[in-house]
């Protein structure tokens, strides 16, 4: 197995003086699902955004495949094959569902067919999708659409930033079934940033705990380990 993403000593944060990431280093293997878990405010989402260059980082290198991508812009990274699903099921609220998909669909139109076979909410007829406005969708549907858009850019690596946050238990269940299906069908590399620790451990090959802007405790694969770490005396 080869590395698809390598991060070396990443420092940075939203504001110039305030570092949230204090030297993060990690490696992601081809085809694996890596979970990043941690407390609120530990910098998980910041790391996701920093990889996509949505917030500037002060120091550090990111390489994707064999290329150094530290200086690329967000849109260039997207063309390279990294895609992010942002927190809270972000979609273009004022546009129809079909328009949302059309925007995301860049290179291979046949991706859409694959996606439509997996994702339940896209399975209504095209006419319906054209009529449906994105802001009338329920929370779960919005997350599904957001995921579909993330995948429609045909990425090699997706970063999923809290795909289940703010959803009802039923919708969370659906979302994870969907994620399993996607892993099986598309076989892409996934970085899953997740609050819900049990879900993350269940879904991912291995998990890393983020704490105070540092990744610690690589390879958490059992729930008991984590409970020990978090609640021990």
């Amino acid at each position: 197995m080869s590395e698809i993403l390598k991060i070396n000593n990443l420092w940075g944060g939203y504001k110039a003086h305030v570092d949230i990431l204090h030297g993060v280093s990690m490696k992601v293997q081809h085809g694996e699902a890596l979970g990043i878990i941690g407390l609120n405010g530990s910098g998980k989402s910041t790391l996701g955004k920093a990889i996509m260059n949505m917030i500037p980082f002060r120091k550090g290198e990111i390489s994707f495949g064999s290329n150094d991508v530290s200086s690329l812009t967000t849109s260039q990274l997207s063309h390279c094959g990294i895609s992010i699903m942002q927190q809270g099921g972000k979609v273009f609220q004022t546009l129809s569902v079909w328009d949302n998909l059309k925007l995301a669909l860049s290179k291979q139109p046949n991706v859409l067919e694959t996606l439509r076979s997996i994702i339940p909410m896209l399975q209504v007829p095209k006419k319906e999708l054209q009529r449906m406005m994105a802001d009338t969708l329920s929370g779960g549907e919005k997350h599904q659409l957001s995921l579909a858009m993330t995948l429609a850019t045909n990425p090699h690596l997706v970063i999923l930033d809290e795909p289940s946050a703010g959803l009802s238990p039923k919708a969370v269940e659906d979302m994870y079934q969907l994620l399993h299906a996607i892993r099986n069908v598309l076989g892409i590399t996934i970085i899953l940033i997740e609050q819900n620790i049990a879900r993350a451990i269940d879904f991912c090959d291995r998990c890393m705990l983020m704490s105070q802007g540092l990744l610690t405790f690589e390879k958490i694969d059992k729930f008991e380990v984590l409970e020990e770490i978090m609640f021990n005396k």
Binding site: Q86, F92, L95, D99, S106
Partner: protein, 289 residues
């Protein structure tokens, strides 16, 4: 008699709509309060006058040149001011102040080169059309026809082309737009070109009827901004609704009171909207969850 005022109001409203869209193009996509649009409006008017009256070109090519030049000027404002400021992470208020500075520069350059006095485009006198007791002058007819064509064309582009889709997407969510692999800066170039062109269309149509002077820009722009707000900001089609409502309202004010209270009524309506219904007539409330 009231019919005449409504018609006048509708035609003014169309012009407001075009200008409001020109402003909203920039405002919705970049969030910059683009006051320099007033300068571009004045610039387009002077270019039109320069080529039509001074160089004696026919009206059509003169206006096309004016539209192209205005689009370019608009692009220059983006490349020389807004983009560098954005790269420096300047706040939107700072960009607005810079925009005011730009407006001052452009307007005064025009005055410096072309003088301060009111000018007219010498158009051939054509017999006004009359329907019953409603009279429509030739420039008004031109404004109505070309204005409606421009609006329809814009709405078509917005709703049915890939470019329009990108535009709507950019104004809905910039960060999502970027993560999907689109280059915001490249789209903004198109946005500014289109904005300049629309502002110039509104400018040329107005100037053809009533002439031009260097101080008109700010006043018209503020009306357009009011139109955008009462229509419902954040979208584009609502500008048309707002523009036409505002035009008719102003015209009826003239009918009921006198033309000099027009501005006061406009702003009282604006304030009422801001306090009671900030999302505008079309009522799309932007959620901040």
């Amino acid at each position: 008699m009231i019919g005449q005022f409504v018609i006048n109001g509708l035609i003014t409203g169309i012009l407001y709509s075009i200008l409001a869209i020109g402003f909203a193009l920039v405002y919705n996509t970049t969030r910059v309060f683009h006051i320099a649009a007033a300068g571009i409006y004045v610039f387009a008017a002077y270019m039109f006058w320069l080529f039509a009256s001074r160089f004696g070109l026919p009206v059509v090519p003169a206006s096309i040149i004016a539209i192209v030049l205005a689009g370019l000027l608009s692009l220059i404002t983006e490349l020389c001011v807004y983009r560098p400021l954005k790269n420096r992470n300047a706040s939107l208020n700072v960009s607005m102040i810079a925009s005011i500075g730009l407006m001052i520069i452009i307007v005064n350059l025009m005055v410096m080169f072309f003088g301060n006095e009111t000018k007219v485009i010498n158009s051939s006198i054509v017999q006004p059309l009359s329907f019953g007791n409603i009279i429509i002058t030739f420039p008004q007819l031109l404004q109505a026809v070309i204005g409606v064509i421009a609006l329809i064309a814009f709405v078509f582009v917005l709703q049915s082309t890939g470019w329009g889709l990108k535009l709507r997407a950019l104004s809905a969510d910039e960060s999502l737009f970027e993560t999907l692999g689109y280059d915001t800066y490249r789209t903004r170039v198109a946005v500014f070109l289109a904005s300049g062109a629309l502002i110039a269309i509104a400018s040329c149509l107005t100037v053809y009827d009533v002439g031009l002077d260097p101080n008109m820009g700010m006043n018209v722009l503020i009306n357009a901004i009011v139109a955008m707000i009462i229509g419902g900001s954040g979208r584009f089609n609502t500008c048309i609704l707002g523009g036409i409502s505002l035009g008719v309202l102003q015209s009826l004010t003239v009918y009921q009171f006198a033309s000099n209270w027009q501005n006061a009524v406009t702003f009282v309506v604006l304030l009422l909207f801001l306090f009671l219904r900030p999302q505008g007539i079309a009522g799309y409330k932007q959620r901040t969850v």
